[in-house]
């Protein structure tokens, strides 16, 4: 269950979920999830849209109400005030001010994070460079393309060098070159800064870029394994085949128990 490819074997998990449950409007969205995410790893959260990925990410970021069970983030219950500067969270829809430039957006969020004034400009420039937006830094965010806007939102989460990054579909709608560059950035953050990344996607072909995968379907965890191990499950040898195989197996199990 534990996966030690990044952090030392004894390090406590960056995310620790035990029987995690979320109910929204009377519907169980997450149904008893139990898993660990090791520190310093890049973990993919895969599943079809509507399976509960965003809810799980909001729970980890501490913005989801009605969470029961255990959910510890960096050794503290999710949502604790001490975690706020240490967790970077990017929602699926870009959440930045459209009537400010990318640079002004970042400068404001850096001030909110409490970055000392003298370090702010440097941090903002680095975040802009990380997402390859330096050339568009002074254009109003509202005039940027959808992909560029998403990268402004991502850059905000990179400010202040958070220990955990929770990224909800950060590469949707990006061209392949940019997508590769962002995945390189994610791996650099984990390798060089020891950051832990939890990245969701509904595109199965991004699975191979992760060190570890959580497969989610209808609020339940189908698998928690490495991409290699999942591919080995079926003759087809793709994560998508493995996903289908696991869904079928779960269905059979449900039918026999019913």
């Amino acid at each position: 269950m534990m996966n030690n490819e990044g952090g030392p074997p004894s390090a406590p998990p960056a995310i620790r979920a035990r029987d995690l449950r979320v109910v929204r409007g009377g519907r169980t969205v997450l149904d008893g999830l139990t898993f660990d995410v090791a520190p310093g790893t890049v973990t993919g959260l895969l599943g079809p849209s509507g399976c509960g990925k965003s809810t799980l990410m909001r729970a980890v970021a501490g913005t989801q109400a009605h969470v029961t069970g255990t959910l510890d983030v960096l050794g503290t219950p999710a949502g604790a005030p001490a975690l706020r500067p240490r967790v970077g969270y990017v929602t699926q829809a870009p959440s930045v001010y459209l009537d400010l430039s990318a640079r002004r957006n970042l400068a404001y969020f850096a001030a909110v994070l409490g970055t000392p004034r003298r370090d702010r400009a440097e941090q903002v420039e680095r975040a802009l460079a990380d997402v390859d937006l330096t050339a568009h830094a002074d254009a109003l965010a509202g005039n940027l393309s959808g992909g560029q806007l998403g990268r402004v939102s991502l850059a905000v989460a990179l400010l202040g060098a958070p220990d955990l990054l929770v990224l909800d579909e950060p590469t949707v709608g990006l061209d392949p070159v940019l997508r590769r560059d962002l995945w390189d950035l994610f791996h650099r953050l984990s390798a060089e800064r020891g950051a832990t990344l939890l990245i969701s996607s509904h595109v199965m072909d991004e699975a191979d870029r992760c060190g570890r995968l959580l497969l989610l379907r209808a609020g339940r965890l189908l698998a928690d394994d490495t991409p290699g191990a999942l591919r080995a499950l079926t003759p087809g040898g793709t994560v998508e085949d493995a996903f289908l195989h696991l869904v079928d197996r779960a269905r059979v199990r449900e039918e026999t128990s019913a």
Partner: protein, 245 residues
Amino acid sequence: MSTARTLATARRVLRQLANDPRTIALLLLVPVLLLILLRYVFDADPRAFDGIGASLLGIFPLVTMFLVTSIATLRERTTGTLERLLAMPLGKGDLIGGYALAFGALAVVQASLATGVAVWLLDLTVAGSPWLLLTIALLDALLGTALGLFVSAFAATEFQVVQFMPAVIFPQLLLCGLFAPRDTMQPALEALSNVLPMSYAVDGMTEVLRHPDVTGDFVRDAVVVGAAALLVLALGAATLRRRTA
């Protein structure tokens, strides 16, 4: 609360406005143009203009700040920036304080312009100091900001939030004494007008209009409007939730 974060928020809100010059022009010029219009509506009776003009100097900042704040905070809620801010180390007081400071600064400019034009160009005759008019106007702006922030929590769309303007502001406008003296209203309505903050805003303006000195009633009116603003700001803070369903 942190001063640095509050000031950063106020600066950010003002920068957003600076990128929208048309809104700034409308905010500053519409009250002035309406006062000029009103002055010539009462062309034959300039003394009637004094009473209504002074009341309007208190009502304009309340209405415009209500609209601007309710839409600005609704945008924060619907675009996800509010969720992002509350997942960061930002206090609710920092956010609300930042908005109050930014829109308060704008209200100072708006109220100064409107009061200046009314007193010096349109010959609005007030017995008291124009500074007292400005004080009440500023407290009204704060109240408008507070009410806007509060109602934005109950609106899901900009259509809905604009409808709160007739729902929250118009009853106060009808009952504040602008159309008929409050003590001549049906007793139940008079009692209601006694608990609505805009009544005190208009009473305060009337005190300045009639008395050369700061009267006890003026102080009471100013305190009531200011306290109502703070109370509604606190209620607004309670509608900001770090965790949402």
